[in-house]
């Protein structure tokens, strides 16, 4: 090895060590774990190799509940947050005064602690002996009977989870979309203006096709992010998510690993691999669809 080669590797060494130990090795290991049956945490031994872990996880009602929750969350929040972010970004791009202020305000949820602000959301929605909660009181003005959003019916809890998730993920989408909209050459808008194109048509026929790569990027990352939902749910419903029927796949993985029901890294690994396969499949489908519909 030449002197130069050695030097290059030397500079890379810290990064390679850390990535190797904490990213590459675990990546391989998780697949191995997921096939090791009856793994004993304390002794590090296992009884056999096979698909039992997967079979167990797929039959576990907690996992099925988590899968259902995650899917509902994905199906609702990804389209809703993308559409809302699109609407906000278009509005934001059309104004001059106060634009910076709005942009800064909208970004705020991105930098705040999900757990901490989730607590505020919980209190706004929660019914206690002392109050019906702020949201219920506002709904009361419209004649809606008070609902226990945090400890009540399933759909109410899911609604709060979706709303909070949307609130958390929208800043990222807004900032990416406003950037994309700003990069559309204004000459197209002038051309459309001379031809008397309505706002709606300008949006659907010009803006949207031109920023379609960005929109698809956001949908893909949105799917991936929503499938990994966890801390939003913890913030609202506490650490025992199985009890509140609000667990997610990632939550299930951690519960299997650690905590009251923990100590089963094999089951956790199997669940993680299942999640990985789902996300990979959805991403591939997304990419295929986007190839068809994105115009560049």
């Amino acid at each position: 090895m030449k002197n130069n080669d050695l030097k290059g590797w030397l500079y890379l060494l810290p990064a390679i060590i850390f990535l190797g130990v904490f990213l590459v090795y675990p990546l391989i290991d998780v697949f191995i774990y997921s096939f090791e049956e009856g793994y004993n945490f304390a002794s590090g031994t296992y009884s056999g190799v096979g698909g039992f872990n997967f079979a167990y996880v797929l039959r576990d009602p907690y996992f099925l509940q988590a899968l259902k929750n995650t899917l509902i969350l994905v199906v609702i929040t990804v389209p809703a947050s993308t559409a809302l972010a699109l609407l906000i970004s278009v509005g934001l791009s059309s104004i001059k005064a106060l634009k910076n202020l709005f942009q800064t305000v909208y970004f705020l949820p991105y930098v705040t602690n999900t757990l901490a602000v989730g607590l505020v959301f919980m209190i706004l929605f929660k019914q206690t002996p002392y109050t019906n909660g702020f949201v219920n009181i506002v709904l009361g003005f419209f004649g809606v009977a008070p609902i226990d959003f945090i400890g009540g019916p399933y759909w109410a809890k899911m609604l709060v989870l979706c709303l909070y998730t949307i609130w958390v993920v929208i800043p990222f989408k807004i900032i990416v979309l406003t950037g994309a909209i700003a990069s559309v050459n204004p000459i197209y808008y002038n051309a459309a203006k001379v031809d008397g194109t309505s706002r709606w048509r300008v949006f659907t026929k010009i803006t949207l096709p031109m920023i379609s790569p960005t929109v698809f990027y956001l949908i893909i990352t949105g799917f991936i992010g929503a499938f990994k939902a966890y801390s939003d749910a913890v913030a609202l419903f506490g650490t025992d998510l199985n009890a509140s029927e609000m667990n997610t796949i990632v939550g299930y993985i951690y519960d299997m690993l650690y905590g009251n029901s923990g100590g089963y890294p094999s089951f956790a690994s199997a669940a993680a691999v299942i999640l990985f396969v789902i996300v990979l499949t959805i991403t591939c489908i997304n990419l295929l669809v986007s190839k068809k519909h994105v115009h560049y």
Binding site: M1, Y11, I88, V111, N113, Y130, V250, Y258
Partner: protein, 287 residues
């Protein structure tokens, strides 16, 4: 054609669209800001006052600092806070050093296998953290590093994305500068520290600030690796406070804790607003 009518109608329509836009944007601003307002407001309400309001008031006439006192005395919020500061500082510092060295190697040094390694690095960007957390948990447990700062920090120090970001920035520095320095007999390390780092300071600051935010908000890994409250970070701390905190549902005191936890990041955001937003729009990590 009645031109005057058309002109007026256009003018009216323009104004209407503008008003609707502003109303809509203001509404969303309220949706975003209201939880923050609520949290600050509640943190200044007395325990008794808060619980006596069946319909919560949107203002308070008798603000109190008692909740903040409680947050630091009745629960170890101060400890959580200090733990998080230690964790964030060390992790970020290590991350910056490793990232700068790796980005330098990728962007400036010529060595065998460089492009292959870089491709592998790029592939690593796509690996979801959830996949590797399991083995890391086992590794750290086996190394007897649970409930230590070492165990908290080690798996958190590398970020392929930041290496990539900085490498792109380093690569923009013209080669001539490097050759000029070589001719003058400057060592690689000196060149890196005296030329590249100062030139790319904006990106390094962006990366640093983003990492600080990430560390401050990290929840999953600390939760797995610490069960001793003495090593809790703020995210776990707030969860602990919520579930076993003040002995009763002392929501104003909880809100005071939330304010204390959130404040450093809001201040950081106000200072580095432009850098953070620019960095995030190039591909953030949360979303």
């Amino acid at each position: 054609m009645d031109y005057e009518k058309i002109e007026k109608a256009t003018e009216r329509r323009k104004k209407a669209v503008k008003s609707v836009t502003y109303v809509f944007l203001t509404l969303w601003a309220i949706v975003v800001l209201f939880p923050f307002y609520w949290m600050v407001l509640t943190s200044f309400k007395g325990y008794g006052a808060y619980n006596s309001e069946w319909v919560p008031k949107l203002y308070t006439l008798s603000p109190t600092l008692q909740n903040y006192k409680d947050a630091f005395t009745e629960v170890p919020l101060g400890d959580y806070f200090i733990n998080t500061v230690i964790f964030t500082l060390i992790t970020t510092a290590l991350m910056v050093v490793i990232t700068v060295l790796a980005a330098f190697a990728f962007s400036r040094l010529q060595f065998y296998g460089r492009d292959l390694v870089f491709t592998i690095f790029l592939t690593l960007m796509m690996i979801p953290g959830e996949l590797v957390v399991i083995t890391n948990f086992v590794t750290i447990t086996n190394l007897d590093l649970r409930n230590t700062f070492t165990g908290l920090i080690l798996p958190s120090v590398t970020s392929v994305f930041y290496i990539y970001l900085l490498k792109e920035n380093f690569a923009q520095i013209p080669n001539e500068l490097y050759y000029a320095a070589k001719v003058d007999g400057t060592s690689d390390l000196r060149y890196l520290l005296k030329v590249m780092v100062p030139i790319c300071k904006p990106t390094i600051v962006t990366v640093t600030v983003l990492k600080v935010i990430e560390c401050w908000n990290s929840y999953v890994w600390p939760r797995l690796i610490t069960d001793d409250a003495a090593y809790f970070l703020v995210s776990n701390g707030i969860q602990e406070i919520r579930e076993n905190g003040f002995g009763r549902d002392n929501i104003p005191a909880m809100m005071a804790s939330v304010v204390v936890i959130s404040l450093p990041l809001v201040v950081l955001f106000v200072i580095f607003r432009k850098k953070i937003m620019a960095g995030v729009s190039r591909g953030g990590m949360k979303g």
